[in-house]
Amino acid sequence: MLDWLDAFLISGLFGVVQIIGLGLLVHLQMGLTRVANFGVAGFWGLGLYVFGILYGKVDWPFGDPWQFLVCAIAATAASALAGLFVAWLISDLDVDGALVGTLGFATVIFLLATAWSDLTGGAAGLGGLGFPYDAGPAKTNEFIWFVLTTAIVAGILAYVLWVHRSPYGRLLIAVGTNEPLARSLGKSSTRAKLTLFTITSGMMGLLGVMQAVMFRFIIPANVTINITLAALAGLILGGITRAWGAVVGVLFTVALFDIVIQFYVPLPQEWYTQAIPVAREAIFGLALVLVLLFRPKGMLGEMKRPQLMRRIHDFK
């Protein structure tokens, strides 16, 4: 079974789906509500590590799948709480303050993962994780997990599409485009940001859980700013204000490098160890600069409220 599928391809596709998921969530935060979040790696990494520690280091009186579910829910909740806390921290700050607050949070998570080695395994890493089921060969297990993760990301996409069609999304856009005016209409922008960060950070934590299980091993190098910037590069290339922006953009960035170039372009073998991964980051960076300079709304362009409203309402 699954002979046609390369094991590395599964993990490549898994990575693409992860970044799409993160990009979709960043779209809600930065695209609609325009709250800077440069600490995506922190929320994602918190879910990753809380799950890893609970699953790998605690003696649970019950086995899988309950052990997985309990740990996954706890990790998601931890990230959600962290999101609430960070949103509170930055709620009355401008974009510079939000940058420092979110980046600071992510750095705290990274430093904890490195320094608290009794708990996290430090730089050596944390193992002892596995799939909450056993369907035979490792590749089959990984494939099932990839499908599950894809389903979760599809769920996130569905939620984002719903947000665009809901009064909640309208509130987020209003806060993002003109916060003082939204407040003068009686909208509590602080409350909107707190709920937004709680939900989206929880989702990021859940994606971290999925990552932990897929690779069964966690190191602090997993949770650096590079994952934040990969999500951001994809989202901005696709279109930061558009629901499908992250999907389209990540296909042209992460998928292009990690799938197409890795598997289908014949390049000298020695390039794959360092030259390509380094070039990948350089090109992501360049893409961010060029897109924001020359096509700031990305490939999909402006938010298309008129078309959307025409489709869901019949006021003329």
Partner: protein, 352 residues
């Protein structure tokens, strides 16, 4: 991962501070206490001199701790102050939070290595040229990226993302020029100079001197020259300054050059203390940001003082806890707490 360029093991092989003293380690003077102690308990008359000896010992230990924290903290973290100063120039005078500034720091390190290895000069001779190259790089990023961005009215969130993108690009593109691996200076080991009983490598004193000279020069320049007047006019009210014809491109380019110069020096000093890696500057980003935001409550000199205080606190905590990671962690949490309590005033005040 985070410990290159800082921490406790970089003072020099022959100095006694190589291992971090903790409250339990032997300090001079306490060695005689264990033998005298039982006697002291039997004969109370001895207690007073013993107590005095203990006080002296603790005092010696504490003063040693303070001296070490001050000397190591101020000298080892002088590059941080330089980097924060450069960052603050752009932030306060050009209103730009430029994340890519950290790459002028990184490249300063690479430039210095390149100069020493191609010319055979010593480190001290390579510092200024490396700073100049970084300054030119900084000017180039302004002309190629940030000036076009301003002209296209890219602002706020998008401008910060652009600077993140530029940083990401430079940090990785440079590896195709200078190689993927960490690089080390092939200069002879530096002399160690005794400061308050703590051995300090000569290049660190050079770094401190650079901070002093550069911050004094920048301060004087901004306060006392006509260019400085224009810079201040530009910073306090861009529109007004522009309409009264103050904004010659030269003023802005000069700010970017000096900022890059300070960053390049910082990178060279960071690099000579351990190694030059692509992540050299990025690792300092958060500390720089925190120092600039908090120090910016006052003015540019505030950035220097807060930077120096941060360096000393970092070293003191590292010596005390025996781990630079926990020291950084505590410092970041403290700064974030400050950020919250000072609220919007902190960021608002930082831009002139």
């Amino acid at each position: 991962m985070k410990d290159t360029g800082r921490g406790v093991g970089v003072v020099g092989d022959d100095t006694p501070q190589e291992t971090a003293p903790t409250p339990t380690s032997d300090a001079p003077g306490t060695a005689s206490a264990p033998t005298a102690d039982p006697a002291g308990r039997q004969r109370p008359a001895w207690a007073i001199p013993l107590l005095a000896a203990a006080v002296v010992a603790i005092g010696a230990f504490v003063s040693e701790f303070i001296a070490e924290s001050l000397v190591i903290g101020a000298t080892e973290n002088a590059p941080l102050v330089l980097a924060a100063l450069g960052f603050a120039l752009l932030y306060r005078l050009n209103g730009l939070l430029n994340v890519a500034f950290t790459e002028t720091v990184t490249l300063g390190g690479y430039f210095a290595i390149w100069i020493t290895s191609t010319t055979g000069w010593g480190f001290a001779a390579a510092v200024i040229p490396a700073g100049i190259l970084s300054g030119l790089l900084s000017v180039a990023t302004y002309l190629l990226v940030f000036r076009p961005a301003k002209k296209r009215n890219v602002d706020g969130l998008e401008l910060i993302v652009i600077s993140f993108g530029l940083a990401l690009f430079l940090r990785h593109a440079l590896q195709f020029v200078f190689g993927f691996r960490a690089r080390f200076f092939e200069t002879p080991p530096p002399n160690t100079i005794d400061v308050l009983g703590v051995g300090v490598p000569s290049f660190r004193l050079l770094a401190v001197a650079s901070v002093a000279v550069l911050s004094f020069a920048i301060y004087q320049f901004i306060r006392r020259t006509s260019y400085g007047l224009q810079i201040r006019a530009l910073a306090s009210n861009e529109g007004l300054a522009e309409s009264s014809g103050v904004r010659p491109l030269n003023v802005t380019l000069l700010i970017w050059f000096v900022a890059g110069f300070a960053g390049g020096l910082a990178g060279a000093f960071f690099g000579v203390a351990s190694a030059v890696t692509p992540l050299l500057g990025t690792r300092q980003l958060l500390l720089i940001l925190l120092v600039v935001l908090v120090g910016g409550i006052w003015d540019l000199l505030g950035v220097v003082w807060v930077g120096a205080a941060t360096g000393i606190a970092l070293t003191a905590m590292t010596l005390w806890l025996g781990s630079d990671l926990w020291a950084q962690l505590i410092l970041i949490v403290l700064f974030l707490g400050l950020l919250k309590t000072r609220g919007g005033r902190l960021t608002a005040g930082s831009k002139v």
